[in-house]
Symmetry: D2
């Protein structure tokens, strides 16, 4: 299956190149970048040095089966129609077509979250991958909501590494300011609240902190249940919800130092780890979810969704298990 | 004023040595450590190399005006009576005498938090400094509670650096496991909840994460007000509460990248920075507070309290403003 | 091919589990750990959660084709004979059989460095993988030495992450001390000097610094050539030496920010990246080499050597290309 | 003594504001910044929040005793003459007047390194502070050179945090690229080689690596002595050289984990720590030096030099001892 990656010099674009390269059914035709056209991919993505790739200009798109769009907000909507002429399928990682936003071309985008929308995806020609923090929060909250364990709003404390804001330098990403930061840059009103509500029905009151990490998203969801519950109740709900889902691991150990989901072990993987705890009085559920924003929260979610759309085994090309220590 | 520091080889002990050294009214008589007795202080605290100090054994305590106890939980209660024989005043940094716990000797401990208990401290001979995360949460929540802005429980998301668990190595502090960790090690049931309730009357539902930092505590307090409020309302409450308090800075900027309290700028200082935001519908208040757990949350809080107890200017010896960049 | 891993709870042991799992020709029979026998592997290596493995006690070794020994210094020599009874092949990652040290059993160990000893490995039944810093320095220096570019001793400045000293906690690895450290813990006399001399004939004067990283080794080799040379000369030597070696990449870019080998992009991979520069007067060659100490410097080097020993394609099971950003 | 700081929004400018504020003999008249004129200093330097300062435009310089220039390369030379009209003394932190470069105004600049040039400084009206890596290397090498212990060139391996390249964002300082970097960005030909030669007579062959730190410079100087020496010989030379110098500490412990200079303990301080080791055969001396590039390597060096120039005790305003843990 021939694919191209637009926005290949960005971080999610680089992850797509990496994943496509190791995917046995995908064949990279073009790594497209306006800014870096003609230059070696390795100059930007040194991990891919041995592949010997060169960025291609966007003016000369080859016909492909699937085009991945790893473009900034707004840019996907702009190029969508043109890309649609050379690519049967579009997998978009931007916010442009998420949560019911309609495409410029009038095409209907399916949500690239197989854990919730697996039945919608087979045969899909337009797929939009949800936001990284939204993905984590949705996978944490959806099973609880379905099980009737969510009364009222949820408080969602989200922490994000620096790669989430992309490859473009600026004052907020300057290392001397960002290296040790615990910067509550969006205490209220984050746009992923809308996506969470759309996918779970839960009003999430988010607070987002930029933390000293490059990759990784971790969300702590504080949920009030209608009646007191036990940790065991919640665990059973999560385990049941994800019993057949290869990329969601329920992690809630009672021993060792790594008892709840920690993004440090998820870099490069397509997993979302989900775990939980409950206050002694049973009146607050704490659900912790973690993922790699560039993989499960973007490129990997896209490849996983394409696998499902094309009837391939869902895990194809996404087997990297992550590292310990990290 | 002659002082000694017991537990001087620990992290809060080292901070006491540093602060006492630069304090114009305090004169260090002994840096006491059982384990390191006879060895140079610089072997443990390399920053103090130029002071040429040596650790003293606990068997030979000299008479002093004030003894600082920087000992592990349980050890303060054990030595308290003996220390009381050579020291008129005891400032304790351990949990042993906090939040109403009575001392073995029957002495009454005042709470070493001048922002709330400034009137109790003058003349005090026994002072117990509250826990570091409790201090941050209390300074965030107390003014709101007094202003009637807290309905129901608060969710307190706390992040802590590794120095908070002391100088003793173990599996949880091993660098290869801890270096990149976002480890939710106490999702519920942290003991500081009790202290917060005792000092503010608010039931705090805490979740504590060990984060990739050495120093620093940051708490995000999610509070539901009885009626919708604005950010301006909350800001006014905080500014009023701390208008005369030299060590609490209300930080809520509208420009720049550092708009809310970030512990990275507080290392070595006695400040608590406090800021806030409010959801658009006015139904959730987010208060962010940050401090250095070893200073304001321990050694600095102790020195500040002693200053107040002895009628010295509150800021004496605590002037270091912190670094930028950090 | 059935394999077992002894010392599976350590860091190189965990990497072996990861690599064996994804290796199409290797089948894990036992993950052996004395200390953790009976406990889930995921408690120690959370990245392997989904594999559902349990540690086995060393008392009950099953017969296997190959046993990997990921044991501390001294322990391999101790168990070698016993393991030899159940395993046809032993791949040892410890220092016990390196650089000509003879085994307790009298068996001859081949050096697990296919780039230098590829011809010795086919059919080998005993393989000893060189030290991680030695591997990096040897791959940097050997081609220069062979090309006659090394006059006199070399200065080797080595930097190492914390995982290199293993999973056992202690004062040197305590996060609060190690997190920001640039600790020159072995300014002279590192034991890898012997290995470098044995494999290249160059007297390396090493200085080793523990740096703020978990994985990764980087060496800067300062070499005096007998006659002035150019960067181009040196580059040609390196490129020629490694033109057919899949795991050594010559990285010496003239553009971008990542021009020379940086271990941050090698985590999890079996690559050694090698690059160079030359002083304007041609009288000093600087060769930079980087690798992941747990992979190419240990577990991956072992798997690669076993691949060569068994006539499998050298890269089998070692395809992970690393991440960018990291 | 009235002072102003030009370039006050930069990192060395911010350090000057901090140091001037706590200096008992200096009184800040203006914090000047072209870009941020009219905005609160705390927006840029959040540590100085409580000072309530505002940046002033460069068009309205008030008369002062001393102007500190914390400007980018080239800018000092441009404004020098104008500043000279309102300030009797200029202390410059840029490269513009270093190592014998003559000023535009024809004024003679003294070198702001009291450890070497203490006799030149009293009464000086123009002072130029050397580069941060040069300062570290010079303090490491000068005593050895004077003692006849340096034969031939020295290899200088320098590591630097990100604050050394200033507050201006760019691709090289983007957090996702820089956060975990060991980037050998200047393997040869660094301009500080010239300064080192000028101040010590030693040809330093430098290799500079950008490392995962914000503050801090560490240099490892590899020196070949004319005859074999012992560590004791070298230590004696260093101790003698710095016996009366308050800001150079000879650190060479035989116990504990912190035996040689580590920049992590020097953040915010004006110290340079210097230590050494010698190969067993006595034929290589390793000297390690560390400092905070923004303090001893810039702002603090400037204040120290001004103290000497004005006959104040050298340590005035520079007493902060640094933190442990860091």
């Amino acid at each position: 299956m021939k694919v191209s990656v637009l926005g290949a010099a960005g971080y999610t674009g680089g992850e797509l190149l990496r994943l496509v390269h190791t995917h046995p059914e995908l064949d990279l035709v073009q790594a497209v970048s306006r800014r870096y056209a003609g230059r070696p991919v390795a100059e930007v993505h040194p991990n891919l040095h041995h592949l010997g790739l060169t960025f291609q200009p966007p003016q000369e798109l080859s016909p492909v089966d699937t085009a991945f769009l790893a473009l900034p907000s707004g840019a996907s909507a702009e190029v969508e129609a043109g890309v649609g002429e050379v690519a049967g399928t579009i997998v978009d990682l931007s916010p442009d077509f998420r949560a019911g936003a309609s495409s410029a071309s009038g095409e209907t985008y399916r949500t690239g979250l197989p854990e919730l929308y697996g039945d919608d995806l087979p045969g899909a020609a337009r797929i939009s991958v949800p936001g990284c923090m939204a993905t984590a929060a949705v996978l944490a909250l959806a099973p609880l909501r379905r099980a009737g364990l969510v009364a009222g709003d949820a408080v969602v404390d989200a922490r994000t590494g620096s790669s989430g804001s992309g490859a473009e330098p600026g004052p907020a990403s300057h290392h001397a300011e960002r290296g040790q930061a615990f910067r509550v840059y969006r205490p209220t009103g984050h746009r992923h609240e809308t996506e969470i509500a759309a996918h779970t029905g839960v009003r999430a009151r988010m607070t987002v902190t930029a933390v000293p990490a490059v990759r990784g998203v971790q969300v702590i969801c504080h949920v009030t249940p209608p009646e007191p519950v036990t940790r065991r109740d919640v665990l059973r709900v999560l385990q049941h919800a994800y019993r057949d889902r290869p990329f969601v691991r329920v992690v809630a150990r009672s021993r060792g130092v790594h008892r709840l989901p920690d993004p440090q072990f998820l870099s490069g993987t397509n997993f979302t780890d989900v775990g939980c705890a409950v206050d002694e009085d049973g009146r607050r559920i704490v659900v912790v979810a973690a993922l790699d924003n560039l993989v499960k929260g973007a490129a990997g979610g896209g490849v996983q969704s394409l696998n499902v759309a094309r009837g391939l085994p869902e895990q194809t090309g996404l087997e990297f298990p992550g590292l310990h220590p990290a």
